[in-house]
């Protein structure tokens, strides 16, 4: 058997045999202390396992695999050295097969690729595979490949994707097709609110989320507290929001439980946790279906229905469906969003890509015993002598040349270096012998990336002029705050710290027309990917506000279904009924 791949006009033939074995790391039966990281599938091709041990090696991951033919096998692991440089790679690990642990140090090659592990004799039948973390500093392994040929799998991403499908014998389309009245992708506060509002109106709702817990940035995995007001949707949002504890607080776990219990009360919300959407197919500007893949098992499902909601934050559904979107900071004249006092920091004369950045929150604590934190020379390049014991919202990274989606892994890793380096410096101070890292998020808490374009683009002027719309479905009072990197004004500051500019406003309103796509007929959006300008996002990007958007969209979907109309037609022909439904959200009758 051969795999024929056409690359740039050349035909590459990669021999495949029945005895070739590809094992996806994320599908290990026992993952030990390794974590599944699906954040960067679109950039590097797969979920992977991450040894996020905060400097302490994590427990081994183990699985078994079946060999069909006795013989010698070459072994590769797909991995990367996440901090290449004149130091030992921080995230090293070894691979064990049955009793043998290969001596090869893995995680030591630049960029994602196949690192040769060694050669081994395997017997037909069941064999054991072990990933042994050596450092606790975020070693990563995507897959392991066994072959009797000494030819590594392809490294180039698109070729690898096709090769992977062939080796794993994946069908072109998902085998299982599911149909729902409404398909919500993204289980942050906006997605959960959309699902609840629609479900309460009787719709069968699919809620697809790529994490094991709901809440997105508010979840215990990222731990940002929810801000903003409840608007017309207090009853729904109280099921989902958080207390105003400090960012990074472990009480986020209790809020996870509350949120999950409330969502599970709805029999017509069909929850797909650990499923990540990877495609949206559109015909004549109408989304026909969204495909999703399980982040560990690789199983695939197709979700069809008349209406879709993009609550992914990054606007993925819209992006795949061909929806118009924007990214970056518009020029100050595009929408007339100047604020004299802060000029270029607020809205630049010339457009750029310097959006608000992403954060990793983290905490340390005083233990009963003294401990040593390993040396991290690879991190000090980022931090210098900057020292810190905790990280709040200011731990944020953005650069004009970094795309918050395409360069997400680089941004996350830069923040990890910032955290480890700063903590190391803090630990060297007298009196900090007992200080230890308690928790460091490995999931990016993003503020801004793609913004899908709707019939109305929400801007700073809508906020500062307190514009009331006939379709004002979201109401907010929070300041408009836009962030910039501190080192812009002071080059001696580390590049991973930001500052906020606040513009005080009175009550402002977001119209329903900012919550559905301009050109994809059956697509709603709620959350930070709603239709707005860069500065227009500054106020409503917090999670009670995005939750309001979600609830508004859920109600809209119910009326769209009732009359078999598009989201735009709802605004044009049924606005009065829609607004009545919005205003009655808190009525006890709406509470099933």
């Amino acid at each position: 058997m051969v795999c024929v791949l056409i690359i740039g006009g050349w035909i590459q033939i990669i021999p495949l045999q029945a005895q070739d074995i590809l094992i996806e790391a994320e599908s290990f039966k026992f993952r030990g202390g390794w974590l599944v990281d699906p954040q960067f599938i679109e950039q590097m091709g797969s979920s992977y396992l991450l040894a996020h041990g905060l400097g302490q090696p994590v427990e081994d991951a183990r699985t078994s695999f079946t060999v069909h033919k006795n013989g010698k096998y070459h072994v590769w692991a797909r991995t990367k050295n996440w901090v290449p440089g004149p130091w030992e790679a921080p995230g090293k690990f070894k691979l064990g097969v049955n009793e043998l642990v290969f001596e090869t140090l893995l995680g030591t090659i630049e960029d994602w690729n196949w690192q040769y592990v060694g050669e081994i004799k395997l017997k037909k039948g069941s064999n054991q595979l072990i990933l042994k973390d050596l450092t606790g500093f975020d070693a990563r392994c995507d897959a392991i490949f066994f072959s009797q040929y000494n030819t590594p799998p392809p490294g180039e991403l698109s070729t690898l994707k096709r090769w992977r499908s062939t080796v794993l014998q994946l069908p072109e389309d998902p085998d299982e097709h599911l149909y729902f009245d409404l398909i919500v992708t993204g289980g942050g506060i906006a997605g959960c609110a959309a699902a609840i509002a629609a479900a309460e109106q009787g719709l069968q709702v699919a809620l697809i989320h790529d994490r094991p817990v709901l809440g997105g940035n508010a979840s215990s995995e990222i731990r940002v507290h929810t801000l903003g007001i409840y608007g017309h949707f207090e009853r729904i949002l109280r099921m989902l929001d958080t207390e105003h504890y400090p960012n990074g607080d472990p009480r986020a776990k209790q809020e996870d439980e509350k949120r999950m219990a409330n969502i599970r009360r709805y029999n017509n919300i069909h929850l797909f946790l650990n499923w990540r959407a990877y495609n949206a197919f559109t015909e004549k500007n109408i989304i026909q279906y969204v495909d999703a893949q399980h982040t560990s098992t690789g199983e695939r499902l197709r979700f069809s229905g008349p209406y879709f909601v993009d609550c992914t934050g990054d606007g993925w559904i819209g992006y795949w469906a061909g929806a118009e979107y924007s990214y970056g900071r518009e020029s100050v004249d595009t929408y007339g969003e100047s604020w004299e006092q802060h000029g270029e920091l607020w809205s630049p004369e010339e457009p750029d890509q310097f959006v608000m950045g992403s954060s990793l929150l983290w905490r340390s604590y005083q233990t009963e015993f003294s401990s040593i934190f390993p040396e991290v020379p690879w991190a000090l390049e980022v931090t210098g002598d900057f020292a810190a014991a905790n990280g709040e919202w200011q731990w944020e990274f953005s650069r004009n040349d970094l795309h918050q989606i395409d360069d997400g892994e680089f941004i996350r890793d830069h923040m990890l270096k910032a955290i480890y380096g700063s903590f190391y410096n803090e630990k060297q101070k007298p009196g900090n012998e007992n200080l230890a890292l308690e928790w460091v998020s490995y999931l990016l808490g993003k503020r801004e990336s793609r913004r899908l374009v709707g019939d109305h683009v929400y801007t700073f002027n809508d906020m500062r002029n307190n514009v009331k719309f006939p379709d004002s479905v979201v109401v907010e009072k929070r300041e408009v705050d836009v962030h910039f990197q501190q080192n812009l004004l002071n080059s001696s500051q580390p590049d991973f710290l930001s500052e906020a500019l606040f513009y005080q406003v009175d009550t402002y309103y977001i119209p329903y027309r900012s919550l559905y796509s301009k050109n994809v007929t059956n697509l709603f959006m709620a959350g930070r990917c709603f239709s707005c300008s860069h500065v227009g996002l500054g106020g409503p990007r917090v999670m009670r506000t995005t939750g309001q958007m979600g609830a508004a969209v859920g109600y809209a979907a119910s009326l769209c279904k009732k009359y078999s109309i598009t989201p735009r037609e709802l605004y044009q022909n049924y606005l009065q009924e829609y607004m009545q439904l919005i205003m009655s959200s808190n009525d006890p009758d709406n509470n099933p």
């Binding site: 940002v224 105003h244 000029g343 004369e349 750029d352 890509q353 650069r399 004009n400």
Partner: protein, 296 residues
């Protein structure tokens, strides 16, 4: 009970009228006091800065005495009131060419005092200066009636700028014991006056002003000067551009990189000049310039 209530109400009104009368007397005294010396040298009257509730109208002057050092100044009088007391503060305030607060001077026999009438200490003056200099201060986004309850009753939380102001932020921003003085002065020197002074500078802009702005350590001052340039200036004055970029902050260089027209980098000399300073440039600036260099 009703009679007593009415009686109390009348008494309260009388007390308030009395305080108002005292305030007016005090204001009159302040206006005509010896501390109020009108400037007499190289000063152009620019605008009037009304103080709280338009009790005072303070003239702002543009100091043209030294072409290397233009600035705006005003002897500012403003009433400062808390729930029970009013007093008048008197300060000389200076702003730069962009209308940003620079510093203040106290006037002889007019020290600032706190709520308990104790005079400011030197560290209080320092604190006030730092707060007035912070254009992004939490005081700028708080209404006066939002100050006292939050400071007094809510437990302090860690700073949370996503939320906006927390109580701890307000406490940290103001001079202890002089909440309303700090608040009133911040809004006086950082309010709409800045925009008006900036407008005056733009309307009277000259090369001496540019020189002064370009010498500033404040990147926003340099950008203000650059905003007066025409597009072709970036080509015609390329040596100046280069000089700014060599010394400039990341923000200034990022601004320049976006403004540079492609023709300004068309020549081999200019290309080389940029390449010579390449290693000193920040990633944001490089991300823009690299396109022009590659095109070459």
């Amino acid at each position: 009970m009703i009679l007593i209530t009415i009686h109390k109400g009348v008494i309260r009104k009388i007390v308030w009228l009395f305080w108002l009368f005292c305030l007016l007397l005090f204001c009159a005294f302040q206006v005509f006091s010896p501390g109020d010396s009108y400037p007499s040298h190289d000063l152009d009257s620019v605008t009037v800065l009304p103080a709280k509730d338009s009790v005072f109208f303070n003239t702002v002057y543009f100091n043209t005495g030294d072409p290397d050092s233009f600035y705006y100044e005003s002897t500012v009088r403003s009433p400062v009131c808390n729930d029970t007391l009013c007093q008048v503060v008197l300060l000389k305030v200076f702003w730069d060419l962009r209308g940003n607060y620079i510093r203040f001077d106290t006037l002889i026999n007019h020290p600032l005092t706190k709520n308990d009438h104790k005079p400011f200490t030197s560290s209080d003056y320092r604190k006030l200066h730092l707060t007035l200099r912070d254009q992004n201060s939490v005081l700028g986004r708080k209404k006066e009636d939002e100050l006292i309850d939050k400071v007094q009753t809510r437990y302090s939380e860690k700073i949370d700028a996503v939320t906006g102001a927390t109580d701890l932020q307000i406490k940290n921003a103001v001079v202890e014991g002089a909440l309303y003085s700090t608040y009133t002065l911040w809004h006086l020197v950082n309010g709409g006056i800045g925009k008006r002074l900036k407008g005056y500078t733009s309307a009277n802009y000259n090369l001496d002003m540019e020189k002064q702005l370009m010498r500033s350590d404040d990147p926003l001052a340099i950008i203000f000067a650059l905003k007066q340039w025409a597009v072709k200036d970036y080509t015609d004055r390329f040596p100046d551009v280069l000089k700014i970029m060599k010394n400039g902050s990341p923000m200034v260089n990022f601004y320049i990189a976006k403004k540079l027209p492609p023709e300004s980098l068309a020549s081999a000399n200019h290309q080389k000049a940029i390449q010579d300073i390449w290693s000193s440039l920040d990633p944001n600036t490089k991300s823009i310039l690299v396109k022009y260099l590659l095109e070459e």
